[in-house]
């Protein structure tokens, strides 16, 4: 696999080079695209082309979770992994058809801005700000952790040093460039991350099935001429070890349904995704860029389940029933990070990897599957380094997008709209930058000292968004009589229900509970669906008993339904 020139050059040197080049590029773009006004800081001046916005949205959206964790989770969960695939893409259909065009026409800077103006109430705005902060902070901490993980494994620095390096980079371009800076760095980051994900996927697909398109490869026959289909082989390997068949999964149908819906609706309600559609010129562009964003996302998302199948098959074949002494170098390296643990219970020197907990001797962290995959498949060093650069691009781009939402919530919604409306443009810009600095520090703190619940709550951020924002925005557009009483009650009770259920079953508050105690058999990850329904029903019932929204608000709603005359985003 190695050419003579790069023989012995090493993964680590390649990683330094690729990470160094990409980081220099991001910083260069940030300096070129720095923001001079609040409008540039919040919505990149409102003149981003649909393609650039699509690429930026895709990079913003695909986080460390998509790049690093998702294929790994699917490779362990098999069919059940489809909840993430459908859930994290199907939301874009809702965004394009139900939200993005109207929010763009409305022409504001943030999601709480829409909530506050549409529901003619600063209480509603404050509820919106709090929901946005809860959702964004849980999400961003996971990204900083992802940055730390990549640094510690590939550059062999301490995981905390990794987090701090990541913080400085993000701080630099988010604070300097605002939305304008992060939009153009995200365009670059999309290119890096998609290249980094697809190159090893294509290599391995050719290796295993002879088909260069991974999306087709994992449904093809093995390249060894046996005529066996890859998926049949994996089903066989899984059942031999006592796992359920790979293509069947083990979650209940109602739970799969609920989780998928919660993730879809949550996607459509995430402030850092919605705000991207405020940056384009026209309503028409908002629709188009949602389509482009999804197309660019789906390239990775359809390849991910293929990578899962390749990685799972390769891993089982490499480790199962093999002598520990024969394990390749990558196995030992990941052991030092504690993400692979081998415990030879029967002291026979052979790795027994089975479902039975008493006999199983191997623990493999789901997060390492994508990162270790190129090594398992013995790809060249530069490909392994490329994956590291891609993972960093994914984590940094999402972190920057989230930090911007946090800073805009504080400087625009809280300070400008509620505390000190007389603040000057310059003052607001300074406040926005200060808020971004503080947010980076808080995120970094959680990255270095992850409270046990951070990892668990990243998936739950979607439930929180589904339970709070989605119904309020949908009703705000499609039901013009919806009033502030209904919307505020719906958001507050919706997010409280979700918080109650997740703290009860995830951290054991309110008496805790086991899987058997789940309501309707729905997991905390899927409970966002239930909380969203509660929000919808409650909003409508309360609305029936309180005065309709005022005439002028109803006129605004009629106006946002018509695409023409979308002015630029304003205060």
């Amino acid at each position: 696999m190695h050419s003579l020139l790069v023989e012995g050059f090493g993964v680590q040197n390649w990683t330094y080079i690729l990470v160094g080049i990409t980081f220099t590029l991001y910083i260069g773009i940030a300096i070129w695209a720095r923001a001079g006004s609040t409008k540039e800081f919040y919505v990149a001046g409102g003149g981003v082309s649909p393609l650039a916005n699509g690429m930026a949205t895709a990079a913003d959206w695909m986080s460390a979770a998509s790049f690093i964790s998702m294929a790994g989770i699917i490779s362990f969960d098999g069919y059940d992994g489809a909840v993430y695939l459908m859930g994290w893409t199907g939301g874009y259909v809702l965004l394009a058809l139900l939200l993005a065009p109207y929010l763009r026409k409305f022409g504001k800077f943030t999601v709480p801005d829409f909530i506050g103006d549409r529901y003619y109430s600063n209480t509603a705005r404050l509820v919106g700000v709090i929901c946005a902060l809860i959702v964004s902070f849980t999400y961003v901490a996971g990204q900083m952790r992802g940055v730390g993980l990549v640094f510690s494994r590939f550059l062999e620095v301490d995981i905390n040093t990794g987090v701090i390096i990541g913080m400085i980079i993000v701080l630099f371009y988010a604070v300097l460039g605002g939305m304008k800076g992060i939009t153009y760095t995200q365009v670059a980051q999309y290119c890096v991350l998609i290249f980094a994900f697809m190159v090893p996927a294509i290599f391995i697909s050719i290796q295993m099935t002879g088909n260069p398109i991974p999306q087709l490869g994992f449904g093809s026959q093995l390249a060894d001429g046996s005529g066996t289909y890859l998926l049949d082989k994996l089903d066989g390997l899984s059942t031999d070890l006592g796992f359920s068949e790979y293509t069947e999964g083990s979650k209940s149908t109602i739970d799969v349904f609920a989780i998928t819906l919660a993730l879809m609706v949550g996607t459509a309600g995430l402030p850092h995704v919605i705000v991207r559609f405020f940056t384009v010129k026209k309503v028409k562009d908002a629709r188009k860029s949602a389509g482009l964003a999804l197309l660019l996302i789906v390239i990775l998302y359809t390849a991910a389940p293929a990578v899962s199948v390749f990685a799972r098959t390769n891993m089982i074949e490499t480790v199962s029933n093999q002598p520990y002494a024969n394990m390749p170098e990558w196995f030992k390296k990941w052991e030092t990070t504690g993400l692979i643990v081998f415990n030879d219970k029967n002291n026979d020197g052979i790795i027994n990897y089975v479902v039975d907990k008493n006999k199983n001797e191997l623990k493999v962290d789901k997060d390492i599957m994508v990162l270790a995959n190129p090594e398992i498949a013995q790809l060249p060093d530069w490909v392994i380094a490329l994956v590291a650069a891609g993972a960093l691009a994914a984590a940094l781009s999402t972190a920057a997008g989230l930090l911007l939402v946090i800073s805009a919530s504080v400087s625009h919604d809280l300070i400008k709209k509620m505390i000190n409306p007389k603040i000057s443009e310059k003052g607001e810009l300074i406040a926005a930058r200060l808020a971004a600095v503080i947010a980076v520090c808080v995120a970094g703190y959680f990255g270095i000292n992850p409270p046990g619940f951070v990892a668990a709550t990243v998936a739950l951020a979607f439930g929180l968004a589904a339970a709070s924002f989605f119904p309020a925005i949908i009703l705000g557009i499609f039901y013009k009589k919806m009033n502030k009483e209904g919307a505020i009650a719906g958001m507050v009770i919706g997010i409280l229900c979700m918080l109650f259920y997740m703290t009860k079953f995830k951290f054991g508050w309110f008496g805790g509970g086991e899987k058997a105690d789940w309501w309707f058999g729905i997991s905390p990850e899927g409970f966002g669906t239930v909380a969203m329904i509660i929000n919808f029903v409650l909003s409508i019932v309360i609305m029936k008993f309180t005065p309709d929204s005022p005439e002028d608000v109803q006129e605004i709603v009629e106006n946002i339904r018509i695409p023409s005359g979308a002015g630029k985003a304003t205060h």
């Binding site: 459908m86 199907g90 058809l97 449904g219 093809s220 289909y229 293509t247």
Partner: protein, 85 residues
């Protein structure tokens, strides 16, 4: 048509498109990929069981197509009502 009637007619047509497209959205993901996947899994296309394929591949391709169909339909509708300026 007054402006108000025009806006109403436009909105009605838009809602019709949205409902049709969202039904397809539901069919390929929740119906084919989740509720009826066991039945569909008895059908095989190459190495894929069909229900599994919809859940991990097919639904996502359809999602992309749906958005672009909506973009086209709405661009035409905007023109028809003169809202494309």
């Amino acid at each position: 048509m007054t402006n108000k009637e025009k806006a109403k007619a436009y909105w009605k047509e838009n809602i019709r498109y949205v409902l049709i497209l969202l039904s397809i959205w539901f069919l390929v993901s929740f119906a084919a990929g989740i509720l009826f996947k066991d039945e569909l899994n008895t059908i095989r296309v190459g190495g894929f069981k069909l229900g599994f394929w919809f859940a991990q591949q097919g639904s996502m391709y359809v999602f992309v197509v749906l958005i672009f169909v909506y973009v086209r339909l709405m661009n035409k509708l905007d023109k028809k009502y003169g809202y494309d300026a």
